[in-house]
Structure formats: C-alpha cells, structure tokens
Symmetry: C2
Subunit: 400 residues, 2 copies
C-alpha cells in the first residue's frame, strides 16, 4: 500500500523518538524538516492563557515561511511564564543551528500537562536523537502520529491525492486531540504536509476556511486548550503552476485540504476521551448562522445530553430543552428533533416511537442528531461524542 | 426539637402522598394549603422550552395572591404541548373546587422526566388522598420535602426565626434539585413559607434579590431546567406591622429569607448528582461584574475542572486555562489561583506546593477555589460540585 502519512508529499523528512518526556516512556518527540523553506500557514488557540509555544509559532509563521516543525507530547509548556518562553526559543535555536537556518524558520508545538517547566535536557537529547533517525519513510510518518498522542487511543491520519495541471499533488495530515477540545480555533495539534505549489497568502486563506468547517466544529468537553495549533506546510515540489488566486486549482486544492481536515476532525471526535460513540449534531432552519451555532453548542455542551448518548437513551427532552435555553430563536409549532434518523419530536409535540429499536441504533459507533428550528434558512453542526464513566476516570485520575 | 419544616410558620397545612407517579412507589405528590389567600411571589425558569406548569404558575401568581400549591415528582409535564397545559389547568381546578376557591389561586409544579403526559388518574386520586391527610404537623412537613425529591439523595430543609415589632416571625423552606441545574433563574423547585405580614410587591422584590444571590448561584451541570420555580408564600399571621417599604423590618426579613435560600442553595450543590464534594468557586478583582461571572462560569462549566475536583487533583492549570478562554479581562502578571486555601499559582507563575497535602484537603466535603484576576474590584461566585462517575451512571442509565 502506498505511503499515506505526512512523509508522502515530496520534500519532507520526519522523525519521532522517545525522549522521556511522557511518563509512559512512549514516543513523545517529533520533527518535520522540509528540504527547503516551505510556504506555511497556521491557526492557533484563542485562549489568552496559552502556551509559550503559541506565541513563538505566531511570530515565526508571520512571514509565511517555515522549514522545521518541532512537537512534543507530555508537557504543554503552558502557564510557565518567562522560563517557558525562553525554553520554546531555545528549542528553535537548537534545531536551527543544526540546519544552519534562522530560528524564526522553526515552529515549536507542545501538548501535555499545564504548568510544568519543560525538561530541557531530555528535549535537547531527544532532538539530537531525532536528527539521527530522520527520513521520509512511512514508518517515521506513522511514528510521528504516535509521538503526538496524549490520551488519544488511536493515531489519526488522513490523506488525499489530486491532480493540478496534470501533476500529482498529495495532501497528508495527522492530528492529536482527545480531551480539552472546544470549537474555538484549531482545538488540538494538527500537521498537514503537501507538495502543492501555492502562495503563502492563498495557503493561509485556504487553511482558515477549512479550519472553520472542520477542526472548529469539534467539541469533546468544551474546554478550550492552551496549545491548539493546526499547521500546513507546502513544499511546492509537485510541480503544478503556483496557485496565486482563487481559481479552479485553488478550489481543487482547498477541497483536498478540507477532506483531510474533515477526516481528522471526525477522528478526533470519535476518539474523544472515554467516547463510545461519535455523534454529529446538526441544527437546520435557524433564523441566523449565529442562532444555529448557539443551538448546536447548547446541545453538545450539555452533560445531560451527552450522558444520554452514552446510555443509548433517546431522551429528546434533554436535547429540546437545551435548545430552549440556548438563546436561539425557534418556532415551537415547527420545532422538530430527529435522533439517528428517527423523528422523536415533531412540530412541538412528542412523537410515539419504539425506544428499544432507536436505542439499538444509538449503540452504533456513529450517528446523527438533527434539530429543525423552523425559523429560517441557516444551519450549523458539530462533531462530538458521548460523556462516559471513562471520561471521568481519565480526567479524575490524570494527576498533576 | 421545634418544628423547622414549612408547616412551622402559622397558617399552612401540608400533605405528601404516594400517588404512583414515581416508578419507585415513593412519596411523589405534595400540597401546601394556606388558611387564607397568601401574599405570594415566584421566580421561574427562563428556558423557552418550559413546562406547561410554568405558564400556569406565572399567570396565577401575577396578582400576588395564592392559597394552594400543588407539586409532583416523577413527571415534569414539559414539552407536552396543549395536552400538558390542559392537564396543569385540570389539577388547579380540582384543588380549587375542593377548597371552594378560584383555580387562579392555585399553583402547580412538576418535576421529573420531560416529554411524557401526566398520569391524570393517578394525580386525581393522589390529590384526594392528600386532602385526607393534610395538617400542620412536622411529619407532614418532612414528608413534603421527601415527595419533591427526584435523584436527590437528601431532603433539603432550612429555617430561620426573627422578630419584627416584637413578634416572632418564621421563615421555612424546602427545595429539590440535583441535576439539570444551571444558574439562570430558580434552577430547581423551592418552596418557602412564612407567617410574616408583607405586601406582595415587597415580597416579590425580596425574593428576586435573594434568588439572584442564592439559587441563581448554583450549577451542577449547566443544563437549565424546564421546570424551575421558587415560590414564597406569606400568611401574615405573625402579627407584625405589614412590611410596605424598604425599611429596617424589610431588611431583617430579607436577610432571613436570604439565609434560608442560601442554606438550601448550598444543600443543592452538595447533593448535585454524583457529587462527592461541594465546591464554592469565587472570582475576585474582576474589571466588571460581567467579567467576574464569565470567569466563574467558565471554571464551573468545565468538565475537566470538575473531574479534577473529583480526583482531588490540585490541577490549577485547568482552572487558569478556563479563565483564559472565558472572555474575562485579566492581568496575567497578577493572575492568582488558590485551592482550598493554598496559593498554587501567583502573579502568572506556578507556585511550588505539596500536592499530597493539598489533595487531602480536597477530599473534604466542602472547600473553596479562589481566583484573582487583578483587573478591578468586581467579584462573583458559584456553588458547584465535582463531576463523578456517579453523575454519568445516574444520567446514562436514567431511561426515558
């Protein structure tokens, strides 16, 4: 089978090593090195308590060019003050000096526990080790996806191949994200490589549009992370004519980027901490887009709704009552709710259904909740999961 | 010991019976009958998907006079459309005809599952039974508190005695509330009786002020109920001079009402579904009251924060990062967080502490989280509890 990891697009080498940052001793440090500076775009958390790494990334990507990306799991380097900032800069400097590039051509990403200083000796040794093993093999691509995992149970990969100007163009992505997931920016770590030739401004535009429809539609626990970033690097080695405007090639590329990011976003929801099912919540016929979002968020942010998902309980009362306090406008005489394809509440009235049959459908790994507000034309959606005892175990027992 | 239930203030008779509405067969129907029409005030849920009972209560209390209050647990009569409204009215009519009063002098309250029609035969028989046993005994007062319980583990009672114009005035309350608790109106069922003589307008004013500082400061799961109501009935039989203005007597009465409601609100938080500890979250030195509320809500609405409470884990990173995305203004160089009396983060920097000692304190049944934003003079607080596996069990296994 062809390599579908982030080493598949031409122009990238990748490494993952065990640096000893994770207590488990698993892979916890990764590098992406491009053969030459890449057109790069990023979107980042809007949390005001953010990791020092986010400040560094924002600054370094501002000129649209990056050659190396560092990532570690096990320590978020967040709420670590001046020391945290210096540590993030030191990491960039170490990598830059090995490549003989500017430290501003390096991005640094961290995920893990908040409020602890980075174990810099381990990090430095890990970087050295990563340079020893870096290559463009599928194995390294897979190991990179493992190195960024924290409470994730599955590694997350997505891949799409398109043709632009007769040339094969690849888009490959990987992501981590399982807890501390709320839809208000990238909400996890995501890395996308592509060999498309595309101007930085167009890459940035495509990434922002795609992020708003994919990663920003995932909610596991409505707790916005301090460290979210989604980065796309374009090596330009596919040989297509450089995308410089919103032309047909731009649309084809953007669609491929959307497919990769949508795939990863769904994987993140399905692997939400403790999740036993992935649920897409869609609100239709809202008066405004803002109203649609309000209703979606009220539903997915309700622990009562999400524990009902966990119990495979078609408790539409919880869903409808969440809409009731969401602040979204609706017409009660048209308000309708569908669970896993079955109408359970229509035009403001309960509908008779067989709970056992519907409950069986809710035990499937993925299904849909649809609510019609009967107030207009706008809609929105969110990828979420159930709230289980597993979530509580993971987060009550994960100690600082 | 003196009677401290809602039958203690003069002028009220109370009953509780097993009407067969709760599947458990426990007490599930209660009545409060005053000797004569009482000055009465109520505050109700702001959820637009509300119980038919809320519409009826709002309408009936609008003239400030009520003589009888009905309550049942086991069925919320919410999202039940026109049928639900007619059922609520039928209940009022039945009680009114027995007392030879207008049905608009009766209030009706329901709590339990959403979206099922009321078992009206059982309700009618239950009301008859209640009239057979109604009296002003302490036993009936206690049983009323039990009849309103759903997933509550403890019955909730509060009592305060004051003197006005040399006369003994009693204020007694009971409440239910364990899940579907968010601070945006009364957020549960609460019933307060008093023999104070106070004009309806002043009673309404006092209740609104007190509710905003007590019941509206409780959050268990941030899911606003369809059925919340808090009702206070004043029989006037204490013999004090009627309170008609915001004078000293008004202040004394309001303080007693606040003490009763604050006591009940804390009991509700402590008995939140699955709760193992009651936590008061306080945010100080906010730029505005709105900012203080935003920061408090972000903290108490985070499942990550509340699972850390459950694990007795002093994971201040989750608390501080919730402040980071709350939208509240803060000065990072002054941002400080204290858990159970211990400073764990000061002026934007982690503080060394012994996690084992602090974790032991977090295993106490009640403690405090304090956050200083360093941005002004405003503050706010919320009574909440931890998020446990017990909460998931209760709400995943509670079937429709």
């Amino acid at each position: 089978m062809a390599n579908k990891t982030i080493t598949s697009p031409r122009g990238f080498r990748v490494a993952a090593v065990k640096a000893g940052i994770k207590a488990s001793g698993n892979l916890d440090l990764g590098l992406i090195i491009a053969d030459k500076p890449c057109n790069t775009a990023g979107v980042f958390t809007t949390n005001k308590i953010c990791s020092a790494t986010i400040d560094v990334c924002r600054s370094h990507v501002s000129n649209g060019k990056i050659q190396a990306v560092f990532v570690n799991a096990g320590n978020a380097n967040a709420a670590t003050g001046q020391q945290g900032l210096e540590d993030a800069q030191t990491i960039c400097t170490q990598i830059a000096s090995k490549l003989n590039i500017k430290s501003s051509d390096v991005m640094v990403n961290s995920t893990g526990i908040i409020g602890h200083f980075m174990p810099m000796d381990k990090v430095a040794a890990g970087i050295d080790k990563a340079f020893d093993v870096i290559n463009n093999s599928e194995t390294n691509g897979l190991e990179f996806s493992q190195a960024i995992m924290t409470t994730d149970l599955t590694q997350k990969l997505a891949f799409k191949q398109i043709k632009l100007d007769g040339k094969v163009v690849k888009v490959a992505g990987t992501a981590k994200g399982s807890g501390m997931i709320a839809p208000n920016m990238a909400t996890m770590l995501g890395f996308v490589t592509t060999d498309a030739d595309i101007k930085p401004a167009m890459l940035k535009k495509a990434l922002r549009e795609v992020a708003s429809m994919t990663f920003n539609k995932v909610s596991v626990d409505n707790h916005q992370s301090t460290n979210d970033s989604l980065i796309v690097m374009a090596s330009g080695m596919a040989g297509n004519n450089e995308i410089a405007a919103e032309d047909e090639n731009y649309q084809i590329f953007k669609k491929a980027l959307w497919q990769v990011c949508d795939d990863l976003a769904r994987q993140i929801a399905a692997d939400g901490e403790g999740a036993t099912c992935a649920v897409t919540v869609r609100v239709n016929s809202a008066a405004t887009a803002k109203d649609a979002t309000k209703a979606v968020r009220a539903i997915v942010d309700s622990p009562l709704v999400r524990t009902a998902f966990n119990g495979a309980d078609p408790n539409w009362g919880r869903i409808v009552s969440a809409v009731g306090y969401s602040g979204a406008k609706f017409d009660l005489s048209k308000l309708t709710c569908k669970i896993a394809g079955k109408v359970v509440y229509r035009n403001g009235q309960p509908v008779k259904f067989d709970p056992a049959t519907l409950s069986a459908k809710m035990k499937h790994p993925a299904w849909l909740v649809e609510v019609d507000l009967g107030a207009g034309q706008a809609s929105d959606f969110c990828y979420t999961c159930d709230l289980s005892k597993g979530y509580v175990t993971i987060n009550a027992d994960y100690h600082t």
